[in-house]
């Protein structure tokens, strides 16, 4: 009996908490992806590179003496105009063509390649570490857990809730959903559709940037860091249902628990193929993922 309790406390419990912490990180990445798909029908292959840009902006601001907490606010604000301009200059050009899913995917794929190489030129190829703004670790039931990760989990949950409120409970969100649902109708009701689209893209980019700042102290910063979470984030988005916020949250938490607990029994290398297998099974059962699109709640 004592042995069982100890196993639970020292083997399973930390694994569950770790899975939760990684789950929040992956959901933060998946959130922007799923919103862009749900509202704009755009698969943003450069999402990871925008996440990296957020982290690099934070590194530059920190080096200039800006406080980390201020960075959390300033970086997303800096990313907004950037996302807006990207949508105007690139996405908009192919948005009205027939194969727009594929074309926007290809375009953002090209953008990702260019951005990643650009980071190498501007910021150098070496890894940069960001000091954790909250040091120390908490002792929870005999488990040792860093304070900053607890903070990220809390803030992550807050961000997810805020995004949900903005999309579903504000006038702005209603306009965006209307534009996504029926472009003509929204336009005739006086919604500035084209600007709403650009604004939504900017919002998705800013979310990626915010994730970049938040996670930089845990995962450090380097040019190819965008590739890190992207496969996991896509898996989460596909399983949850592309365009569903609820789906991304549930899929993110469940998949990361599967990964965390499975890694106790199989070599960690094989946990990613395992998650992929889960994704394939879900898709065979429900080709549109677990939950529907954004417009449908």
């Amino acid at each position: 009996m004592h042995g069982l309790l100890e196993t639970l406390q020292f083997v399973y419990a930390p694994q569950v908490v770790n899975g939760l912490s990684i789950g929040v990180a992956v959901i933060l990445m998946a959130l922007g992806l799923t919103i862009l798909f749900g509202l704009l029908d755009v698969i943003n292959m450069a999402h990871g590179e925008f996440y990296a840009l957020g982290a690099y902006l934070a590194v530059s601001l920190l080096a200039a003496g800006v406080d980390f907490w201020l960075c959390l606010l300033v970086v997303p604000l800096l990313m907004l105009p950037l996302g807006y301009v990207t949508e105007r200059l690139l996405i908009q050009r192919v948005f009205n063509r027939k194969d727009r899913h594929v074309l926007t995917l290809l375009l953002t794929f090209g953008l990702g390649i260019v951005l990643e190489d650009a980071y190498r030129i501007v910021f150098g190829p070496n890894t940069v570490r960001v000091d954790s703004p909250i040091s120390g670790a908490a002792n929870v039931l005999g488990m040792y857990f860093p304070n900053y990760r607890l903070f990220v989990m809390g803030v992550g949950a807050l961000i997810i809730a805020l995004v949900w409120v903005v999309v579903f409970r504000t006038r702005l969100g209603a306009m965006v959903r209307a534009a996504a649902h029926d472009r003509q109708m929204a336009s005739s009701l006086g919604v500035p559709v084209s600007r709403v689209y650009s604004g939504t893209f900017a919002f998705g980019v800013a979310l990626a940037g915010l994730a970049g700042v938040l996670l930089a102290p845990i995962y450090s910063v380097f040019p190819t860091m965008g590739k890190d979470f992207i496969l996991l984030a896509f898996t989460v988005v596909i399983v949850g249902g592309m365009g569903s916020i609820k789906g991304a949250v549930i899929a993110g938490l469940v998949l990361m628990q599967i990964q965390a607990l499975a890694s106790l029994y199989i070599s960690p290398v094989w946990t990613e193929p395992l998650l992929f297998g889960v994704m394939v099974l879900v898709l065979m059962w429900r080709p549109q993922g677990l939950f529907g699109k954004l417009g449908n709640g």
Binding site: I43, L106, G110, I113, E116, D117, F234, L283
Partner: protein, 342 residues
């Protein structure tokens, strides 16, 4: 009614003209290849012959991407999976079983067909971007597996694949001879190209085109959509794998990098820049991209910026790609000529 018939005849006529233009561009590709071979052979070159052979091999991969993208409207972001599969199967056969070209190609074809069917079952139900992301994930997972299996050489890959002689009935080609292997690759790729063209212009190929324009309506015409897509997918897998099977014959090794997303992504870039839906465009595109990478690579370490920007420009301004653009220009000129004659 008669009017409708005339319109249909005119459309059919234009389609035939378009196909004729592409046929001419394919012949021009062979002619350019032969001219290159003559120039290169007369100056005793080795490097450019082998670089051109590599361009042709990766052109075959881009051709398989085009089969799916240009005809069935299915974007595969993981075609390197089948290219790498072909390369590994061919390498293992040549090194461990028998250094025979035909055996390697036969086993590759069989394995790729089975693997293609399995992958088709997994991915074919998903449409559009879902399909793209599943193929992407599938290739990532297989690449990871290969990277971690010591029996496949793991991260180091397999070296020491013997140089072979290819028996072609009347004569032999030494794969180690730069000119000989280049001409062989040229012939081989043109055969693959001709087979693809034949299939895509057959009634079965037309079903794919119908799927591309409106998938939901095709079943009402009495065609099984699923079967047509599976066949297209397996055909593309075979083309990619047979191209990949030539790689170890050229370079003497295989490594997990051949399965990476860079290779899949590069094939998509090549097909788009060359001209999706033309089949010959990807081969032209591959020569362009491989050549460009080799030249730019010697001057800057940031060739990705150049190729990525070029790709974005192509997507925005030349969605028909190089060959699509040329074919359309010729078509417009012809139409003007026809219009002048009353």
């Amino acid at each position: 009614m008669a009017e409708a018939g005339a319109v249909a005849a005119a459309v059919a006529h234009n389609e035939k003209e378009g196909e004729r233009t592409l046929n001419r561009l394919a012949l021009a590709f062979v002619a350019l290849g032969l001219i290159f071979a003559a120039v290169a052979a007369s100056s005793g070159d080795v490097f450019f012959f082998r670089l051109a052979s590599e361009a042709l091999i990766f052109g075959g991969l881009a051709l398989s991407v085009d089969l799916l993208l240009g005809f069935a409207g299915m974007l595969s972001l993981g075609q390197a999976l089948f290219f790498g599969l072909g390369a590994y199967v061919s390498a293992l056969v040549l090194k461990n079983l028998l250094p025979s070209f035909w055996l390697a190609m036969g086993i590759t074809l069989a394995v790729a067909t089975v693997a293609g069917m399995v992958a088709a079952v997994i991915s074919i139900r998903a449409r559009g971007v879902y399909f793209a992301l599943i193929t992407f994930g599938l290739a990532q997972v297989v690449a990871k597996v290969v990277y971690n299996v010591p029996r496949l050489g793991a991260s180091d890959g397999i070296i020491g694949i013997p140089s072979i002689r290819i028996h072609l009935g009347l004569f032999d080609i030494d794969a180690a001879s730069p000119a000989g292997f280049f001409l062989f690759c040229l012939g081989f790729m043109m055969l693959l190209y001709a087979a693809c063209v034949y299939l895509m212009r057959s009634p079965a190929g037309r079903v794919l085109a119908a799927i591309r324009s409106n998938e939901d309506r095709v079943p009402f015409l009495g065609y099984p959509v699923g079967l047509a897509k599976v066949l297209a997918f397996v055909l593309a897998a075979d083309v990619a794998a047979l191209s990949g099977a030539l790689y170890p014959m050229l370079r003497g090794f295989v490594s997990p990098e051949l399965l990476y997303f860079e290779v899949s992504g590069n094939a998509v870039i090549t097909a788009i820049i060359g001209g999706a839906g033309t089949l010959i465009g990807p081969l032209y595109g591959s020569v362009l991209i491989v050549g460009l990478r080799s030249v730019i690579g010697s001057y800057t370490s940031h060739h990705l910026i150049v190729i990525g920007s070029l790709f974005m420009l192509a997507v925005v301004f030349f969605p028909q790609g190089l060959i699509g653009f040329i074919a359309r220009r010729r078509e417009q000129r012809r139409l003007r000529r026809v219009a002048v004659v009353p």
